[in-house]
């Protein structure tokens, strides 16, 4: 589909609206092994990601924060998608997700599962960062980057 033909409903798919209204894993983990905070200075979105690993595999993950529907839904669906995955698998998923969101590469779409709902983002370049902030934050948590992560 031509990106100019993308409609608002292609962006705000039912799955995305649902997760933005009722975000899953929207809580704080007590004593998480890893955590990081993400901030988008352009819009003020803030997100905290908490991760527990078990033998290098994501055993539990949650998030807290303030943001738009895209950022909340992205965080919610991300937490669902990465449970049970290794760090390397999470990074690979992030890379495919970013390619999908920016319209760079559709190849990994089939393997993205529910995350494929964000394909509509490629028609809304101003909103890509809303969806990727939480992934950057997860990346920072897993890398144990000490400071607040920024999209800028």
């Amino acid at each position: 589909m031509n990106i100019d033909d993308l409609e608002i409903a292609d962006l705000y798919q039912e799955l995305i609206v649902d997760h933005s209204r009722r975000p899953r894993n929207f809580r704080r983990l007590e004593l998480p092994a890893y955590q990081a905070e993400g901030f988008n200075p352009l819009c003020g979105d803030r997100v905290k990601v908490y991760v527990d690993l078990d033998n290098g595999v994501v055993r539990d993950i949650s998030f807290e924060g303030e943001g738009c529907a895209i950022s909340k839904a992205s965080a919610s669906l991300m937490t669902e998608s990465v449970k049970g995955k290794t760090k390397a698998e999470v990074e690979k998923l992030f890379s495919r997700f970013r390619d999908l969101a920016t319209g760079k590469n559709d190849a990994g779409r089939a393997s993205l599962g529910k995350l494929a709902a964000f394909a509509g983002l490629r028609g809304f370049p101003a909103r890509v960062k809303c969806a990727t902030l939480v992934w950057h934050t997860l990346h920072a948590a897993l890398e144990q980057t000490p400071d607040v992560v920024s999209t800028e």
């Binding site: 608002i8 352009l42 003020g44 738009c68 529907a69 909103r127 809303c130």
Partner: protein, 416 residues
Amino acid sequence: MSALRAVKSAEFDLLGVRRDFPALHQKVHGKPLVYLDNAATTQKPKAVIDALNQFYKLDYSNVHRAVHALSDRATKAYEAARTRVKEFINARSQREIIFVRGATEAINLVMNSFARPRVKAGSEILISALEHHSNIVPWQLLAEQTGARLVVAPINDAGELILEEFEQRLSPQTALVAVAHISNALGTVMPVNEIVQRAHARNIPVLIDGAQAVAHRRVNVSELDCDFYAFSGHKIFGPTGIGVLYGREDLLDEMPPYQAGGDMIRSVTFEKTTFNELPYKFEAGTPHIAGVIGLGAALDYFSQVGIDRAAAHEAELLAYGTELLTAIPGLRLIGTAREKVSVLSFVLEGIHPHDVGTVLDHDGIAVRTGHHCAQPVMDRFGVPATTRASLAFYNSKAELDALANGIRRVQKLFAL
């Protein structure tokens, strides 16, 4: 566009002025553009675009330098625009009109050349809680560097300055009062006359940030009696990159130059430089000549439309828009001052402004979403961001209908 025609009246020719703005007549995402982001920047009338074109095509040269014909033409046009600005804000002399990049640079000039030499540790700069970051951050820098203190006068729940609280904060330590004429985030018109009177009663100088005011209200700096007045060209239908600092001549005379270079000097030897007279002392380097000429054309155009007629039309739009929006369940207007210009800042229950902005954009409606470079204002109202529709005289009631319908579509999309 039948609704547009109905608005046309003897006093204000809406269809006529809309024809003057080429950018308004386009489709965005297949829908007619509804441009409601005028507090960020205004569209340009053909008169301004033509003036820039004519200057670059025929009259282009540097100013104040050569003896050739083009330089003479450019200099005359440049200085004519200065006279135009002087008349527009009713300054006493062209010497009081300094061309700068914009309101931000004007405020930084006052901070560096006027405030810095006057403040010491314990001095106070008094601002309001409604300021744009550009009238907060320069003073914070100055405070950090000098030990001065930034003092903030609070606002009420309607987004109005509490004048008594402001007055209480005027003290023997106050070196300068710096306030917006009109709030960019909420549209509140500040009681600038009272502010100047009360500050001057204590011999405290006043800088007014007029960035949001000049396109909506007649500004008369002599009557207002402020010491400095700053505004940007691009918010009053002129080019970007050009703005004005008005300053009282006796104050400007005493102030050291802000930047150094060509054009601001009278004579230079390696031993000593004598500075040029006002206003050139503050205009180092080749100025934004085309911008100045474009600004002059914009002021001519706006005066021709009629500032008071435009303001009356905008007042009608504000009343109509306020009624439309307050009728929408789940919508909360932020900023309900009795004295305000045509700005409708709002939040929708359970829906983030960025989602509102994206959906409206798809309807061809351009609004600003975010903190509007006024994070302290957002904090005051306990919201991270708002959606802001800001109107100019070329907007119509039909466009406000489109906005209200757009908002309903947003709510429908996010209702589960």
